[in-house]
């Protein structure tokens, strides 16, 4: 915690250097990989802020999953585990199928009529095709790239989820404790507690995204899917949300799609690198970035393509 005692020294910007690691919030800690030396492939990572996971439980299992849109294969035979207690990041160049794979985890791909899925995805050893979609999507909730709070008050955005889950007591007072706790888990409560009837769309972008996370958490999910949750946000809000994601990993299994390699390195415990629908490498974050097993991974993380 000594890193918090003094402000970081002022650095001059040097285009040759990677951006400095940010220390954010009291929850930020570093593990043994902190201050990683430039890696073999030239990937110079920011500091890891994440301690090694305390435990990991296998919750979901993606098994030989292929997804086709008509004749086009978006995902080709991907297998990987999703564990609670860890953050899994999906990285890869645009159009490599990582978002499609993420959306298939709670059967959102089924909304696209042309999508066909083969292979199996299991949640606690039950094939998700056997689980009724709305029940599945409550256990596996999703946060999107663009913050999409509903055009209601902050309170109603969260209460909507609770009401639709068939909560009998739909009076405002009865829902308040659960709404507050969801906002607290998303680290938004302190900022909005005085004005819960404020229109959600008038919040800042970072607050909106945290509201969306709070909404996803209100459903008491077991798995949380995040589709580039920070790509529309400024660095400050990004840092807050990254902290939040790391804090959540013990309670829910977190899968995050990101274009930002630094971000993947900062918060993920395992990283899956996808390229043109193939899963090229699935490895622990430190290994994948510092000593990738595959040549293509090395090229990607060192910025050779993508």
């Amino acid at each position: 915690m000594e890193s918090l005692s003094a402000p970081p020294p002022i650095r001059r910007l040097d285009p040759q250097d990677p951006p400095p690691a940010r220390e954010v919030g009291p929850g930020a800690t570093t593990n043994g990989n902190g201050g990683a030396a430039p890696a073999r492939g030239g990937f110079t990572a920011a500091k890891r802020r994440v301690a090694a996971p305390r435990f990991s439980i296998r919750r979901m299992e993606v098994d030989e999953v292929s997804i086709h849109y008509g004749a086009k294969a978006a995902v080709k035979g991907v297998s990987l585990p999703i564990r609670q207690g860890e953050v899994l990041a999906l990285i890869g160049p645009s159009g490599c199928g990582k978002t499609t794979l993420l959306r298939s985890l709670n059967r959102l791909t089924e909304l696209t009529a042309a999508a066909r899925l083969s292979g199996s995805i299991r949640l606690d050893d039950v094939d998700i095709r056997l689980i009724e979609p709305t029940l599945l999507r409550r256990r596996v909730t999703m946060v999107f790239q663009q913050p999409n709070p509903f055009p209601m008050s902050v309170f109603d955005n969260i209460a909507y989820v609770l009401r639709e889950q068939g909560s009998r007591r739909t009076k405002k007072k009865a829902l308040a404790p659960r709404v507050h706790s969801a906002l607290q888990r998303a680290g938004l409560f302190e900022e909005v507690k005085d004005n819960l009837s404020h229109p959600a769309l008038k919040l800042s972008g970072g607050q909106q995204q945290r509201l969306c996370i709070a909404r996803a958490l209100a459903a008491e999910p077991e798995v949380l899917l995040l589709d580039e949750p920070c790509s529309a946000l400024d660095p400050q809000s990004t840092a807050v949300i990254e902290d939040l994601i790391v804090k959540l990993r013990d309670d829910v299994a977190v899968v995050i799609v990101t274009h930002n390699l630094q971000q993947a390195y900062r918060i993920a415990d395992h990283v899956a690198f996808m390229y043109l629908g193939d899963l090229v490498e699935y490895n622990s974050a430190t290994r994948l970035f510092n000593a990738p097993a595959e040549e293509r991974t090395r090229e990607y993380v060192s910025g050779a393509f993508g």
Binding site: L108, L111, P133, R137, F144, F150, S153, A216
Partner: protein, 330 residues
């Protein structure tokens, strides 16, 4: 400086010309509107002045009153002003209200189906069909009503005992509130469907997807998110439909029965078979008697009431949309 030409920058006021032209057009249109309102109110004034608030009340047979008014002033007769419009107003409220409520409910379900649930090919077919229906001239609906619906109601729905029960008061022939409401609903519903479905299509896909991703099913998402977000469009469509319904005259003159009779709910459910005549068709019916000064003023008074109702309705819609904008529903 104005009009000065600079070789590199062009004339200084090139944009201002457009501004002024459009400004002049706006002033002209607004002026025309105000002039129209002023003329209608000024010409209507004698009728309101002679009757006071009783103009809107009940009393006597409104058709007899209209007759007396149009004959007065001719052949040295004195002017007659007495006019109690309640039967016409009541008929307008019943027919417009009935049609708007039926239209709102059915249009909402139809547009939700078209936008959210119908397969693509079907909504591609339905969309132009609805737009076409919204533009069918009302006289065609009137003709169909007179030739098909009115005889059907008169011959098959109204029973002889029902006709006998009100025999001394009014005769039930099929020209009725029911026929008017049904045909008016068919007339305004496509207009509402087309505006509602535009509104539903404009709902941000992210909201719908976000709700689905939280485990809320399609049906609930549609009503709680999509329809909710489309409320301003629903209000706008309803306002337009109400305005069209209030102003509809030819079709209603054909099938409402064209009798200055207030359908009486105290008669039981058969009051929907009773004939009446709303305000707008009354103008059409009496338009050939404008030579008499009181008749002239009376018709203008009816026009003023219609104008005022339409304005009130737009205002209510505006207020409702403003209230909804608070949470950012587009």
């Amino acid at each position: 400086m104005e009009g000065e030409f600079h070789p590199e920058y062009g004339p200084k006021w090139s944009d201002q010309r457009v501004e002024r032209l459009l400004g002049a057009l706006v002033v002209f249109v607004v002026g025309l509107l105000l002039a129209m309102i002023a003329v209608v109110v000024a010409r209507a004034w004698p009728s309101f002045a002679h009757n006071g608030l009783a103009w809107f009340g009940a009393g006597g047979d409104v058709d007899d009153q209209l007759n007396a008014i149009s004959l007065s002033g001719q052949n040295g007769l004195d002017y007659v002003w007495t006019f109690h419009a309640w039967p016409l107003i009541w008929s307008t409220i019943l027919i417009t209200g009935g049609a708007v409520v039926c239209g709102l409910v059915s249009a909402l379900f139809v547009s939700v189906f078209i936008v959210e649930f119908a397969p693509t090919w079907m909504s591609n077919v339905l969309q132009p069909v609805v737009r076409f229906l919204a533009s069918v001239p009302s006289v065609i609906y009137g003709l169909l009503g007179v030739l098909v619906l009115v005889p059907f109601i008169g011959n098959h729905l109204v029973t002889e005992p029902e006709k006998a029960s009100v025999a001394g008061v009014i005769s039930l022939t099929g020209y009725s509130l029911l026929a008017a409401v049904i045909v008016l609903t068919i007339m305004i519903a496509p207009l509402m469907v087309s505006i509602f479905s535009d509104g539903l299509r404009a709902v941000k896909p992210g909201w719908v997807e976000g709700s689905l991703a939280l485990g809320v099913n399609r049906w609930r998402t549609t009503w709680k998110i999509a329809v909710r977000a489309a409320r301003p469009a629903i209000v706008a469509g309803t306002v337009l439909a109400v305005a069209r319904a209030i102003g509809e005259s030819v079709m209603l003159a054909m099938i409402s029965g064209s009798v200055g009779f207030p359908p009486n709910p105290a008669d039981g459910l058969i009051f929907i078979y009773e004939p009446s005549r709303p305000l707008a068709p009354t103008i059409v019916k009496n338009v050939d008697q404008l030579s008499s000064k009181p008749a002239n003023a009376t018709l203008f008074a009816i026009a003023a009431v219609l104008l005022f109702s339409a304005a009130l309705c737009s205002l209510a819609g505006w207020i409702a949309r403003r209230a909804m904008r608070k949470y950012g529903a587009a």
